[in-house]
């Protein structure tokens, strides 16, 4: 298992390095051989030092199908974000706010899923994750315009985002 973590970390670091240095030469496709050598060297060093940091409890996020779902997820997320931005822009001009902190229950099992959902909620204007209850998996969300005081699901706060995140991480 440590070897597998090491290999995954090295490959991820190398891919990131190659993306950053794309266009440096023409030796190997669009990279110069110096960049390749340095990239491999530093990826090995980073893999040795941080093999248990990047990879958590399991390797489920290595599966490319989950990455495809994550990229598709950007679509509904940006739609949600654009709608909320226009809504908040109108509220800034009119000054018409109705704030409050509500508690929303979630059904996500993994830590990564909770992190992604709370980050998505925070990134959507009008909703801001203030705290999380780690045992019961509930989020405390500051909402600029409280429509429901006791939300049953995360549907009323974040739309269909929870469904997408569950598909990507579980």
């Amino acid at each position: 298992m440590p070897l597998l973590n090491f290999i995954v970390t090295v490959i991820a670091c190398l891919i990131f390095y190659l993306i950053l240095t794309a266009g440096s030469g023409t030796d190997i496709l669009i990279w110069s051989w110096q960049q390749f050598a340095v990239g491999i060297l530093f990826s090995l060093v980073v893999g040795m030092v941080g093999r248990n940091v990047l990879v958590g409890k399991d390797l489920r996020m290595v599966n490319p199908r989950r990455w495809v779902v994550l990229i598709v997820y950007l679509g509904p997320f940006f739609l949600e974000m654009a709608k909320a931005n226009i809504d908040v822009a109108i509220r800034i001009i009119t000054g018409n706010i109705n704030p409050g902190i509500v508690k929303i229950p979630t059904n996500l099992k993994t830590d990564l899923g909770i992190t992604m959902l709370s980050n998505s909620i925070t990134l959507t204007p009008g909703t801001l994750t203030v705290d999380v209850d780690e045992k019961t998996r509930e989020l405390y969300v500051h909402w600029l315009d409280v429509k429901v005081k006791e939300p049953e699901t995360s549907e009323s706060v974040s739309g269909s985002l929870e469904k997408w995140i569950r598909r990507a991480t579980e």
């Binding site: 822009a89 001009i93 109705n98 508690k103 801001l128 203030v130 705290d131």
Partner: protein, 116 residues
């Protein structure tokens, strides 16, 4: 054609950044100001970065120079980092504010205060 698209994207980005700045002045407390300040600004920054990406892609296509490819890739990575770090920072500020006893002004409901 490309220049028009770039100008439109820049104007949208600037409008949202301006609204975010106005919101910081208009809203009553730290939580509502975070809504305006951190997130409208992020949306504006995404649009200004998108303008850079569009311009860079067009120049990459017409002039076939890898310098522009570099610009596009680095801007995309900057946007991804912005999308990850910005909500983390906003969440940290809000959590610290609530823990140090600053309550939301004009709140109709505060579940977190009731639980603690």
């Amino acid at each position: 054609m490309i220049l028009e698209i770039v100008i439109i994207l820049l104007i949208i980005g600037l409008v949202f950044n301006l609204l975010g700045s106005i919101g910081i002045l208009r809203f009553p407390d730290v939580y509502t100001r975070l809504h305006a300040g951190s997130k409208c600004a992020t949306f504006g920054s995404i649009f200004t970065s998108l303008a850079v990406v569009v311009y860079g892609s067009a120049m990459w296509y017409t002039q076939d120079s890898m310098v522009y490819a570099d610009m596009v890739i680095h801007t995309v990575i900057a946007v991804i980092c912005l999308l990850i770090t910005n909500p983390t920072g906003a969440h940290a500020i809000a959590r610290a504010a609530h823990r140090s006893g600053i309550m939301p002004i004009r709140a109709v409901v505060d579940r977190l205060k009731e639980e603690k």
